[in-house]
C-alpha cells in the first residue's frame, strides 16, 4: 500500500482529504465533499467556466493545456451526446500520483467529473483506469455506487429536476499508448488503442463521435477544490500562468521518495534536497528526469528552475506528469538511456512508422553500445533517428521517445564516447540478457 508522506513546505489543496478515510462517502461529505458540485448546479455553466479559467489550472497529465479553455471549446449545442472522460490510465514511468488520488480521494474524481459535465452540458462521464489498478477500480466502483445510492448520480441529482449525470467506470488491459487521449477513446470504444489524427479535436469529435472533454484524473480532482476556494484564490497558490498546486511524485535516489503537493513554480532543487530529503546515502546528484520518462534530462547543475510548465520549457525540458526521477552518481547514463528507449519501443503501438521503426532502431543501437560493441557513429545515428521521429507521428509517443533520447546523447555525449572507449561511468544494474532491454 502506498505510504503517505508530508512535508512542511507542502501547500495542501488536493491532498487535504488524504489519510482521512475520504473514500467513504460520509467522511467525504463531512470534509466539504459534494458542496462544489451543488454550487456548480446553482451557479450554472458560465460561472464554472469563468472560475476554471481564472484558476489558471493546466492539464496535469503532462501537456499543460489550460483546462477552462479546453472546456470552452466544446460546442454549446450538439446533435450528438457530449461526454466527459477521465484519464486514469497513468502509465508514464515515474508517475504514481493518480494512484494515490484514486486510493485516498475517489469522490473528488467523481465530483470533478460531474462539474466538468455541468460545464459542457454532458450527462455521461467515464472514469478510465489502467488495468493494473484493479484494487483502485474497486474503490472507485464502490464510490460511484455510494454516490448513486445518495442520489448524487443518476436522474435529478441532489433533487434538481432535469439535472442528470451518470458515471461509468472502465478498465484498460495494459497499454501505455492508451494514455494518449484519442487512443484512450479507441480503447473505450472496444478497439486497439491506436491514436486518431487531429483535427478534429476531441472537444468537437471525440468518444462515439460526440464532443468530449478528456482530462487527467488529477486535473479533474482539482476542480471541486477550485470551485470552493474560487478561481483567483487557486491561481494565487501557483506561479504566473500556472495556477495552483500539483502532486509531484519524487522517486529514485532520494532519501524520502513520495507524492508531495507543491505549489506550481516551486524550486526543483528544494523539491529534491528539502522536501524529498536529498540524495540517498549521501551520494552526489548526477541528473534529474523532471516530469516522467519522456522529459529531457536535466544535469545536476540545471536544477535551479521552477516547477511549472513555462519555466521547465524555458529550461529545455518539460514539467510533464510531475514524476521527478532523481539519479545519483552511480547511474550509467548509457544504461539509463537504453532502459528508457526500451520502454517506448515496447509501448509503441506500431501505427506510425517513424515511432515504430525509430524506437526499435534506437533501442538496437543503444543495446549494442551498452553490450560493448558500439562505435562513435552510433551516437550520431541515435541522434539522427530521434531527430527524424520528432513531430512525425499521429500522437506524442514518438516525441516522448525521441526527446529524452536526444537529451541523454546531447547532454552526456562525453559519457557515451567514454563508454565506447571502454571508460564506463556508473555501476551497471542490468544486462542485455534482461528481456525488456534485450533484442527479443
Amino acid at each position: 500500500m502506498p505510504m503517505l508522506v508530508s512535508h512542511p513546505e507542502e501547500v495542501i489543496s488536493l491532498k487535504r482529504r488524504f489519510g482521512q478515510g475520504a473514500a467513504d462517502i460520509d467522511k467525504y461529505i463531512e470534509l466539504d465533499g459534494y458542496k462544489a458540485v451543488q454550487k456548480a448546479i446553482a451557479e450554472g455553466p458560465e460561472w464554472i467556466l469563468t472560475t476554471m479559467k481564472a484558476s489558471g489550472l493546466r492539464g496535469r497529465g503532462g501537456a499543460g493545456f489550460p483546462t477552462g479553455m479546453k472546456w470552452s471549446f466544446v460546442p454549446k449545442v450538439s446533435a450528438k451526446p457530449k461526454y466527459v472522460l477521465v484519464n486514469g490510465d497513468e502509465s508514464e514511468p515515474g508517475t504514481c500520483k493518480d494512484h494515490v488520488i484514486f486510493l485516498e480521494d475517489p469522490h473528488a474524481v467523481i465530483e470533478g467529473t460531474m462539474i466538468a459535465g455541468l460545464a459542457i452540458g454532458s450527462k455521461l462521464g467515464f472514469i478510465y483506469l489502467r488495468g493494473e489498478y484493479r484494487y483502485l477500480l474497486k474503490i472507485v466502483e464502490k464510490a460511484v455506487a455510494d454516490a448513486y445510492a445518495k442520489g448524487y448520480l443518476g436522474k435529478n441529482i441532489f433533487g434538481n429536476e432535469g439535472v442528470d449525470f451518470d458515471i461509468i467506470t472502465q478498465t484498460g488491459a495494459g497499454a501505455y499508448e492508451v494514455g494518449e487521449e484519442s487512443a484512450l477513446m479507441e480503447s473505450l470504444e472496444g478497439k486497439r488503442g491506436v491514436p486518431r489524427i487531429k483535427p478534429p479535436f476531441p472537444a468537437v469529435v471525440g468518444l462515439y463521435g460526440g464532443p468530449t472533454v478528456i482530462n487527467n484524473a488529477e486535473t479533474i480532482a482539482a476542480c471541486p477544490h477550485i470551485l470552493l476556494m474560487g478561481g483567483e484564490a487557486y491561481a494565487k497558490l501557483g506561479s504566473e500562468r500556472n495556477g495552483g498546486t500539483r502532486l509531484f511524485g519524487i522517486s529514485g535516489h532520494v532519501e524520502r521518495p513520495g507524492v508531495y503537493e507543491l505549489p506550481m513554480g516551486y524550486s526543483l532543487r528544494k523539491a529534491i534536497y528539502d522536501v524529498a530529503g536529498g540524495i540517498k546515502n549521501g551520494k552526489r546528484l548526477k541528473a534529474v528526469v523532471p516530469g516522467g520518462s519522456s522529459c529531457p534530462v536535466l544535469t545536476a547543475d540545471e536544477i535551479d528552475v521552477g516547477l511549472d510548465f513555462d519555466q521547465m520549457a524555458k529550461a529545455g525540458t518539460m514539467l510533464g506528469s510531475g514524476g521527478i526521477v532523481v539519479l545519483d552518481e552511480t547511474v550509467s547514463i548509457v544504461e539509463f538511456a537504453l532502459r528508457v528507449i526500451s520502454f517506448y519501443q515496447h509501448e509503441s503501438c506500431g501505427w506510425c512508422i517513424p515511432c515504430r521503426e525509430g524506437t526499435d532502431w534506437i533501442k538496437k543501437t543503444l543495446a549494442r553500445v551498452y553490450a560493448g560493441g558500439g562505435t562513435k557513429k552510433d551516437i550520431d545515428n541515435v541522434q539522427y533517428l530521434a531527430d527524424n521521429m520528432m513531430g512525425r507521428t499521429f500522437c506524442p509517443l514518438g516525441d516522448a521517445a525521441a526527446m529524452p533520447t536526444l537529451g541523454f546523447v546531447k547532454k552526456f555525449r562525453k559519457e557515451f564516447e567514454d563508454y565506447i572507449d571502454g571508460n564506463r561511468a556508473g555501476t551497471p544494474v542490468m544486462t542485455t540478457e534482461h528481456d525488456l532491454v534485450g533484442a527479443h
Partner: protein, 169 residues
C-alpha cells in the same frame, strides 16, 4: 445478443457480462473489460471465451482477437496461479528492481513469461506499474507489493505458495 444461454462462465461473471453489454452507449465498449474479466476467471483468454464474447457483443471472433493481441495484460496461454510481475522501469531500476527480478528468477527457477512446473507461479518483467514512489515494486496478480527487498520477496512468495497471499479480483 446481450445475454446468452449456456455461458461458459460462472453465474457471477455471466451476470457481469450481461450487464456490461447494456451499460454503454455502444456495446462494443464492453470488450476490453470483458476480456480481462474472462481472463481473471480462466487464467487466460481461451478460444471458447473469445467465441462467447464475440457472440455477446455481435462481433466476429477476429475482431475480438485483433483487440486481444494489443493489450499486454491479456494472454492466450495460461499463466501461473500467481503471476509475479516485477517492474524494472526507471524508478524501480534505480532502487533495485533488477535485483528483485533476478532474485525471483532464481527463487522460482523460471524466466520471463515462464510458469513453474506445478503451475503455481509465473514470472514477468513488466513496465512501469505506477508504484514509483514505493519502489522497487511488483504485483502478484492484481496486488501491489512495495518497497521490496529480497528478504521481503521471499516472505511474499512463501505466503502465496502456502495460500496465504492477498489476491484481489
Amino acid at each position: 445478443m446481450a445475454t446468452i444461454a449456456n455461458s461458459m462462465f460462472t453465474a457471477e461473471t455471466a451476470a457481469r457480462f450481461d450487464s456490461l453489454a447494456t451499460i454503454y452507449p455502444v456495446k462494443r465498449s464492453a470488450l476490453v473489460p470483458m476480456l480481462l474479466y474472462a481472463q481473471d476467471e480462466l487464467g487466460y483468454v481461451s478460444e471458447a471465451a473469445i467465441q462467447e464474447i464475440a457472440q455477446r457483443l455481435d462481433l466476429f471472433d477476429l475482431d475480438v482477437r485483433n483487440v486481444l493481441s494489443y493489450y499486454s495484460m491479456l494472454r492466450t496461454k495460461p499463466a501461473g496461479k500467481y503471476n509475479v510481475q516485477v517492474c524494472t522501469n526507471i524508478s524501480c531500476m534505480l532502487r533495485g528492481g533488477y535485483e528483485i527480478l533476478d532474485h525471483c528468477k532464481q527463487k522460482l527457477g523460471i524466466g520471463h513469461k515462464q510458469v513453474t512446473p506445478d503451475g503455481k507461479f509465473s514470472l514477468e518483467e513488466v513496465e512501469c506499474i505506477g508504484a514509483c514512489c514505493w519502489a522497487p515494486a511488483m504485483q502478484v496478480n492484481y496486488d501491489f507489493h512495495d518497497d521490496l527487498t529480497t528478504i521481503k520477496v521471499d516472505a511474499i512468495l512463501q505466503d502465496y505458495a502456502e495460500g496465504r497471499g492477498k489476491d484481489v479480483r
